[in-house]
């Protein structure tokens, strides 16, 4: 399938995301610039982690006004698959493509650590390679990852089975200690009502190799590939010859 990975000024995990898709999973990747105005012909668009526009004003608030976001909004409204990771999740919330907001962590500081997230819904485009209740080990690294929403939104997220991942301990229990940022309901990732837009704070692209961060993050990307009818098997040889600046 054809992926698009957007680079906003200040995106930091764009190269890593493209590296995982191209080199580790053998996918085809188009690198998109924030001033591009089209995402035509793509199967999934990724908004990567980082500090778009320096996180000035409010995380994601400026990036959502980038020219490419008009194309992403239209793409999502047409049913196209959109994945927002960390800063990408923040941008999707700012753009109104996902409900709720991400605010300063409960402990106020930036937090970089491995966390456990439990798969709440396996029947989604983004988690179909997991089973319900699976616990994934994926890192977080953010200062503004505390998910909040009003009661009505939260109820509708629950009712619509839109809460995809929650922070838990290694055994899959929701506990205050296992919630790294104070998110409401320990929410780590949600999808929209239609099910084609997914945002999460943990970084699956940093958990795709045993050598660096483990492999649980692959399941997210492999699920998307499976949802698109791909074989979702890891090829041994990269299919792209494009040289990346990343690893």
């Amino acid at each position: 399938m054809r992926w698009g990975v957007i680079t906003f000024p200040g995106s930091n995990d764009d190269a890593q995301t493209a590296f995982v898709l191209e080199r580790l999973l053998g996918e085809s990747v188009v690198r998109l610039w924030h001033k591009d105005e089209s995402v035509d012909g793509l199967d999934c668009v990724v908004l990567p982690g980082g500090f778009s526009y320096g996180d000035y004003l409010r995380c994601g608030a400026v990036a959502r006004l980038s020219p490419i976001m008009r194309a992403v909004e239209a793409f999502a409204q047409g049913g196209g698959m959109v994945l927002g990771i960390c800063n990408g999740f923040q941008i999707l919330c700012e753009a109104g493509l996902l409900p709720g907001a991400l605010i300063r962590n409960r402990e106020l500081g930036f937090s970089c650590r491995r966390v456990h997230v439990r798969v709440e819904e396996a029947d989604t485009h983004f988690t179909n390679r997991c089973r319900r209740g699976d616990v994934l080990d994926i890192p977080i690294k953010h200062g503004e990852g505390c998910y909040i929403a009003d009661d009505a939104t939260l109820r509708s997220l629950e009712a619509g089975r839109q809460i995809v991942l929650r922070y838990t301990d290694a055994e899959g229990r929701v506990t205050p200690e296992a919630n790294p940022n104070g998110s409401l309901g320990a929410i780590a990732g949600i999808r929209n009502a239609r099910g084609n837009v997914f945002g999460l704070m943990p970084h699956p692209e940093h958990a795709c190799e045993w050598l660096v961060g483990g492999e649980d993050g692959r399941k997210i990307f492999l699920s998307i590939i499976a949802a698109q009818g791909g074989t979702a098997e890891t090829p041994a040889v990269p299919t792209s010859s494009k040289v990346l600046s990343g690893p």
């Binding site: 930091n12 995990d13 320096g54 930036f110 937090s111 660096v212």
Partner: protein, 742 residues
């Protein structure tokens, strides 16, 4: 304005230096010229007190592609790649304004690396604060750590390791040393030599404001006093977002497709436009004509004097080929950055600056750089604070070794640094193999099977007692940390933090440290490829302990052969490589439990260190080592406890240990003798490990087994590892929570 010696003194120059300026020029300088001299002749820029001593350092070797003298040094790591690295201080700014001071320290060292064409892949830092219960320490720690995280996280370079220590000797002068390593194709290293008469000089990046004026001369090159808080305006304000854009734009310009436009590039760091322009002209053997009216400004009314001396961050100076201006402007414009041609290269060997048509600076380059003052300042050995004698008989032995071990594990210098490194993004870039919390950080070399290991080390307590042995020990510890990660040491950078060079005792400490650095680097075959000297680290006449921080870099041919410090599985044999000695001098135990800093320094022998490192690296390459950990501060007992509890992702493991000592148990458990390593191996690999140890003539003894949930050492220690872990892990958070917020 008539320039006089008095005005020169206010600029930090001496009367003799001012006379030298007048005689060089044959006239009084203009105000702008005086400003240029004051920063270029500052200790920070000219190394005037250290230059003659640094010449003796080993700076060459088969792998060295670039030694000292450029923005950073470079070492060949094979596969057509080189690593570029350097460490630099930002001590005074961080004490005056901890958040911005530390942040801009990170920003500055990052620019030094990407100026060479290298993409930064790892940041480390070495931090020294005052006593943990000093009223200002909490404020400084929070600010510095916050600033480092803010800059590194936002620009997207992982912070993967470092060291933090607390000592009352830094109560009034903290140390913030920032290290960055980048990767570049070995044949594509860019240098900062302005050549080609008529070539345009282009200014790129942020606009120039009034911040940081005299940062290099008055802040970095003078000691602190009660008025130092008033120097806060000399601290620059960092913008990591702009630096991220600058990084990407510069690397785009230096890509194979576009780099034919570029002749030279240098960042505007300390002393801003002045030092970047004069240093580029000096290296190129040329001159520069600049029109300061063309410099992009943040506000109107900025004077030429301020433009020359501003240390506004996130700026670079380029020399381009004629006709390349539009192509280069287009790159920076894509990244929404300013780019302006402000002058051109000449053959005059002079720096000439005009402002609104008036000539304000007309100076020969050489007196500003190569012919700047260099002093052989008097040195004299200080009266020792330590008589070297420690009579163990006068030292009561602990009655409860469990309590003593726990007390050490929660002491400020030995407890977990998790509170610190959790605030740093260690993942970004996707190459971090070993994150903070092991002996050294390990980061994959992009596009290869290889990895680079990095560590920054110094035990300033040893350096205070004996700066020569202390520095040798710091180099040895750094090498052991790399070996414990499976890496062969290949190169060194250093940040020499000292008091005022005008004091003979400080100069003596400095000379001793440089001699130690030289001897140790020769012994390990690790050339010194870059470095930084930070003098005047003192307040109201009190100097910091001599603190020569060693940044050492190692190479792993196969990243998957990396080793971490924590035990891996039940049943593995625990092996001590090296020999225990009855030494307690200058130990953490002596300081924490007996409140003494004395007794000389532990004995060290570089040949023995070399053999240990060879044995450990060879064992790692054969895949024998399940874990490896250097025995350092806190001695054998603390090192063993760390092996049990420091894994971030797995539950702590216990160990059953029997030690043969034949001497005092506290010296056996907590003495800090060098040349020791704790490794764990599968039982079936013991024979092979013994063979390697015999080959390298390294003492080897099997001292126990990974087992259960208790750390047992003979009948002296028996502590539940969960208790050890909790006490070690929560201590720093608790200590900082208890310190004042001011």
């Amino acid at each position: 304005m008539k320039i006089t010696a008095d005005i020169a003194l206010q600029h930090g120059l001496s009367a003799a230096e001012y006379e030298r300026i007048e005689s060089t020029l044959g006239r009084a300088p203009t105000l702008e010229e005086l400003g240029v001299f004051s920063v270029m002749w500052s200790e920070h820029c000219s190394y005037k007190s250290s230059r003659i001593h640094l010449r003796g350092l080993p700076t060459t070797g088969p792998r060295v592609l670039q030694g000292p003298g450029e923005n950073a040094g470079a070492i060949d790591v094979g596969d057509g790649l080189a690593v570029v690295f350097k460490i630099e201080s930002h001590n005074h700014p961080s004490f005056v304004e901890p958040f911005q001071g530390a942040a801009t320290g990170v920003g500055g060292i990052l620019r030094d690396i990407f100026t060479m064409g290298a993409r930064p892949i790892a940041n480390l830092n070495s931090l020294r604060f005052g006593a943990i219960d000093h009223p200002r320490t909490g404020f400084l720690v929070r600010g510095v750590v916050g600033g480092i995280g803010h800059y590194g996280n936002c620009i997207g370079v992982p912070t993967v390791g470092g060291e933090v220590s607390f000592d009352p000797g830094y109560d009034h002068n903290i140390l913030v040393n920032a290290f960055t390593l980048g990767v570049v194709k070995a044949d594509r290293i860019f240098r900062a030599r302005a050549t080609g008469v008529g070539n345009p000089v282009m200014y790129v990046g942020s606009r120039t404001g009034r911040d940081g004026i005299h940062g290099a001369s008055l802040l970095a090159s003078a000691e602190f006093d009660a008025e130092s808080e008033s120097k806060r305006p000399t601290v620059q304000v960092g913008d990591p977002f702009t630096e991220k854009l600058l990084l990407e734009a510069c690397l785009e310009l230096m890509s194979p497709e576009l780099s034919h436009h570029l002749v030279a590039i240098q960042d505007m760091g300390a002393a801003g436009l002045t030092s970047s322009s004069t240093e580029m002209a000096s290296r190129g053997g040329t001159g520069l004509d600049l029109d300061l009216s063309l410099v992009p400004l943040r506000e109107s009314g900025v004077t030429p004097y301020e433009i020359l001396l501003s240390e506004s961050q996130e700026r670079m100076l380029l020399v381009l080929h004629q006709g390349s201006e539009d192509a280069v402007r287009a790159i920076f414009s894509k990244w929404d950055l300013e780019a302006a041609v402000i002058g051109h290269v000449t053959d005059t060997k002079r720096l000439r600056c005009t402002f609104e048509g008036k000539l304000v600076v007309d100076l020969p380059i050489e007196p500003l750089t190569d012919d700047a003052p260099a002093y052989d300042r008097p040195a004299a050995e200080p009266h020792a604070s330590d008589d070297g004698k420690l009579n163990l008989k006068d030292l009561p032995e602990p009655t409860d070794y469990n309590q003593t071990l726990l007390r050490l594990m929660e002491s400020p210098n030995l407890c977990s640094r998790e509170w610190v490194y959790r605030q740093y993004d260690a993942y970004v870039g996707g190459g971090t193999v070993v994150r903070p919390g092991s002996d050294a950080a390990v980061v994959r070399l992009p596009g290869t099977e290889k990895a680079i290991a990095m560590t920054v080390d110094c035990n300033s307590r040893l350096c205070l007692v004996d700066p020569y042995v202390g520095t040798v020990s710091a180099v040895a510890e750094a090498a052991r940390n790399l070996a414990a990660s499976g890496a062969e040491p290949i190169g060194v950078t250093n940040c020499l933090n000292f008091g005022s060079p005008e004091k003979p005792e400080v100069m003596w400490q400095f000379q001793q440290a440089v001699a130690g650095l030289r001897d140790a680097c020769l012994a390990f075959g690790t050339p010194v490829i870059s470095g930084n000297v930070s003098f005047y680290n003192e307040t109201e006449g009190r100097s910091i302990p001599p603190t020569p921080v060693i940044g050492m870099v190692g190479l792993l041919e196969d990243a998957s052969q990396h080793v971490t410090q924590w035990f891996k599985s039940e049943g593995d044999a625990i092996v001590l490589l090296g020999r225990n000695r009855e030494e307690l001098g200058s130990s953490e135990y002596l300081a924490v439990v007996h409140h003494q800093v004395r007794g000389g320094v532990p004995w060290i022998d570089l040949e023995i260190e070399r053999r240990l490192i060879r044995a450990v690296v060879a064992s790692a390459r054969e895949g024998l080592l399940r874990s490896a950990h250097d025995v350092a501060e806190g001695g054998l007992a603390v090192a063993l406890a760390e092996c049990c509890i420091t894994s971030e992702t797995t539950a702590p493991l216990g160990a059953r240990i029997e030690l043969e000592g034949g001497f005092r148990p506290d010296a056996l458990l907590f003495g800090e003798s060098h040349a020791r390593m704790i490794v764990s191996v599968r039982r079936r690999h013991l024979t092979r490990l013994r063979e390697i140890a015999r080959r390298e003539d390294v003492p080897i003894s099997v001292i126990g087994e990974v087992r259960g949930k208790v750390l047992e050492i003979g009948d002296l220690v028996g502590v539940d590892v969960a208790t050890l872990r909790e006490c070690w892990r929560s201590a720093l958070t608790k200590a900082l929570a208890g310190s004042a917020a001011a």
